[in-house]
Amino acid sequence: MRKITFFAMGFSVLATIGQAKTPVLNVLTYDSFTSEWGPGPMVEAAFEAVCACDLVFQGAGDGAALLARLQLEGITSDADVVLGLDTNLIEAARDTGLFAPLPQLPSAKLPIVWADPVFAPFDWGWFSFVYEQGTVSNVPQSFVELAASDLKIVIQDPRSSTPGLGLLMWVKAAYGDGAAQIWADLADNIVTVTPDWSQSYGMFLAGEADMVLSYTTSPAYHLIAEGDESKAAAAFSEGHYMQVEVAGKLAATDQPQLADQFLTFMTSAAFQEVIPQTNWMYPAYAIPTGLPSGFEQMITPEVSLMFDPKEASALRDATLSEWRAALSR
């Protein structure tokens, strides 16, 4: 055992000598961020052009897997920055005590005020129900109208998917104690609940449901990447719940300055420009060139709903059982 450790140390010393010239910044993120179609490759190239470092993205499943992995690794994690937690996971992430305060960053441009000392947003979006124009004639303008209609929807499970959890919070934020009733009324509209977003979206595209829980910006993908104008997001009068994706610096990092530099870079145009057409979300900081054309056709909800992380975390268990009870009947 001791011998192995000794050898391992020897190797890591050698490895450090070999790489001494270029420091390495490890950024733990979700898998689709690092993918060929995600923001990862472009962000990596842009940052490495200015940092004289090696930026390494470690992709681990989705946002929830990311947090789970971080909790498994604890302080022994070799990650310097974690990128891709969503608002509903922030409180659990903060409770790990693994994060360090942020450096001084420009303030984010969101529909809500953001003043978290530990987590900085890098993109955001509004949840909404996406439909195919032409097949849905009376587009519902609220959960009540949706529940009263005979439209079929497909949603994601809040126990395994972050958008699914977002929908749960959306109904709770809009209806409070009346949320259980909304779920009970929605029960006959729900075709099914899928473990993750892509399965829902695939079913919607295949015609299995009239509407799918996704984002207001989802139609932009079809419009810009496919030239397909038929998809649209329904605007709800209760307002739309927001998802904000954030990044934070780990306290145990061996590259604190580089981590700060990356987080500052994250707020710059070079990073933010990549977001709209890779993550299909809104950038969290202004980009001088403006949003790609096509985004102006997306709906802009008048009311933005969001619990602060503490509230969201406190509400989660109760709303989950409420949801489960309403749909199990």
């Binding site: 192995i4 391992a8 733990l28 898998d31 689709s32 993918s35 060929e36 179609w37 995600g38 470690q58 992709g59 681990a60 499943g61 929830a64 897997a65 947090l67 789970a68 992995r69 909790q71 498994l72 690794e73 022994t76 070799d78 659990a92 079929k152 499970d157 126990r159 395994s160 959890l165 029960a187 729900i190 075709v191 099914t192 609940v193 899928t194 473990p195 977003w197 892509s198 399965q199 979206y201 695939g202 079913m203 595209l205 295949a206 015609g207 299995e208 449901a209 989802s218 993908y221 079809h222 990447a225 890779t278 299909w280 949801w323 489960r324 749909l327 199990s328």
Partner: protein, 509 residues
């Protein structure tokens, strides 16, 4: 000398399996800071109920189908038997979308019914879960039973014919004893597969009513980070599986059918209504199984040529993983099957252990074990090979055991007499007579190992992505069409591997 090497290997294989079951679970429990909070009895009840129903229905339907395929000869029979391997090999998400394209709200069936002015009942609900599990597992049961039928020496059938046995008597005296040998193992294997169903059960179950234990484990591990709950649920799931295993062990053991001349020639099959029933059964089952696959083929095929180039190295990596895992699994299965014949059913239990494992707990536990020593990312592909080999071992075992048991019942005496060492026994007795089963086992394990993703998500992969990861990425990037093509590629490759091993050795059997 060689024999002690075999014993050593046996001890090694058993130890590795035991460690793989207990190690990760222990690692998760070790890190847990709170116990199980509210155990979900409802989830356990639903899980058991759907698994029991899916397994018994799959095997019940497989019996007449396997018999029909065994005793009829017709053009395309070999192709149908090969294709029976396909549904079992589909990754869950692909299988769900393929099934929905036929049985869904706007699927082919619903469209057909609408033309006739009919409305079909919704697939979503308990019925959908059972339907999907039968679609995925019934073909596997058919293949297991078919091996059973093929293991009956043709001398038996000749004897029966000369005694004037009609089909009912033939069933009672020759086929039923074989079924008693093969069917319980098949039911148990499928029961255990369905026990850990997660995506299929939830999506087709239509909502939280269809919550399985595996989903609760996922929630505990990912969203609640309650390792205690996850470990307790994982333990519960393993206990349920072991209980099923114990139940199956109560069934009486049978012996081989006596030595035959290794001729696999069937007698003239019964004529009249039985022929019609056989062909009707084969036809219905083929349509049921092939229609969803056909849609998959149709939607994915046009895009395969234009897939982004990164798909191809990922595909090559997946094939490599699958091959390594398959040889690992079949090697271990053969060793354990031999041991269970010699030392009793303890080793049968050992070989089935992987099915009792939650792959999520397995992945998390392995991560906890590996991570203090070196970066999990570096180990990602090796861990994938090891876990895929581990998780597919029970299938290889199920396929190999009945044949090996028969072989030892019939030829064990001679092997002892001539004092054959393990290699000679394999080379001159086992391999020539078990080639169809070994080929089938290699094919199945290779194909299963292509698709698995569950274990690996925590391990950020530094050696490059595999094909299932690529599909997940395409899906996550709205590229559903490309994902469909990549999924078809995965299915074609899995099936190609399966066919390569299976048909080379099993064509004429």
């Amino acid at each position: 000398m060689a024999r002690s090497a075999v014993s050593l290997t046996l001890v090694g294989v058993t130890a590795v399996l035991g460690l793989l079951l207990i190690g990760p679970l222990a690692a998760v429990i070790w890190r847990a800071d709170q116990g199980l909070t509210a155990l979900d009895i409802e989830a356990v009840r639903f899980t058991l109920w759907q698994a029991a129903l899916s397994a018994s229905l799959s095997v019940a339907l497989a019996v007449p189908l396997a018999r029909a395929l065994y005793r009829r000869r017709f053009y395309g029979r070999g192709a149908i038997i090969s294709l029976l391997g396909a549904p079992f090999l589909l990754p869950a998400i692909v299988a769900v979308l393929a099934l929905l394209s036929v049985f869904g709200r706007v699927g082919l069936l619903a469209q057909g019914a609408a033309m006739l002015g009919l409305t079909l009942p919704s697939i979503y609900g308990a019925m959908g879960v059972i339907l999907a599990h039968v679609f995925l597992n019934m073909p596997f049961a058919v293949r297991l039973l078919l091996l059973g039928w093929q293991s009956i020496p043709s001398e038996r059938f000749r004897l029966a014919q000369s005694l004037g046995f009609g089909p009912p008597a033939l069933f009672l005296h020759i086929e039923l004893p074989m079924l008693r040998l093969v069917a319980p193992g098949a039911v148990m294997a499928i029961f255990m597969i369905c026990l850990s169903s997660f995506a299929v059960a939830l999506t087709l179950g239509g909502g939280p009513r269809a919550t399985t234990v595996e989903l609760s484990i996922y929630q505990a591990l990912r969203f609640d980070f309650n390792l205690g709950a996850a470990a307790a649920l994982g333990l519960l799931q393993s206990t349920l599986c072991l209980a099923a295993l114990g139940l199956a062990a109560l069934l009486p053991m049978q012996h081989g059918f006596g030595i035959g001349l290794d001729r696999a020639l069937a007698l003239g099959p019964p004529k009249g209504w039985r022929a019609y029933a056989d062909f009707a059964g084969i036809f219905c089952a083929t349509v049921f199984l092939l229609l969803p696959l056909g849609v998959l083929f149709y939607t994915g095929l046009s895009g395969i040529g234009s897939l982004p180039w990164v798909i191809w190295p990922a595909a090559a990596r997946s094939v490599g993983v699958a091959l390594c895992a398959a040889f690992l699994a079949c090697f271990a299965a053969l060793i354990l099957a031999k041991a269970s014949l010699r030392y009793g059913r303890f080793y049968e239990g050992v070989a089935m252990l992987p099915l009792a494992t939650s792959s999520l707990v397995l992945g998390t536990g392995l991560f906890l074990i590996i991570h203090p020593f070196f970066s999990p990312a570096r180990a990602a592909l090796s861990v994938t090979i090891l876990t895929n080999g581990f998780l597919s071992l029970p299938f290889a075992f199920r396929i190999l055991l009945p044949d090996l048991r028969r072989l030892y019942a019939d030829y064990g005496h001679q092997m002892t007499l001539y004092d054959l060492g393990p290699w000679a026994a394999f080379r001159f007795v086992i391999w020539p007579r078990m080639r169809p089963a070994i080929g089938f086992a290699l094919g199945v394990t290779a194909a299963i190992s292509m698709g698995d993703l569950g274990v690996i998500t925590l391990f950020a992969n530094a050696d490059g992505t595999t094909l299932p990861m690529m599909i997940a990425r395409l899906l996550g990037a709205y590229k559903m069409q490309e994902a469909a093509s990549a999924a078809l590629l995965l299915v074609l490759l899995s099936f190609g591997l399966f066919w390569l091993f299976d048909s080379r050795e099993g064509k004429d059997a």
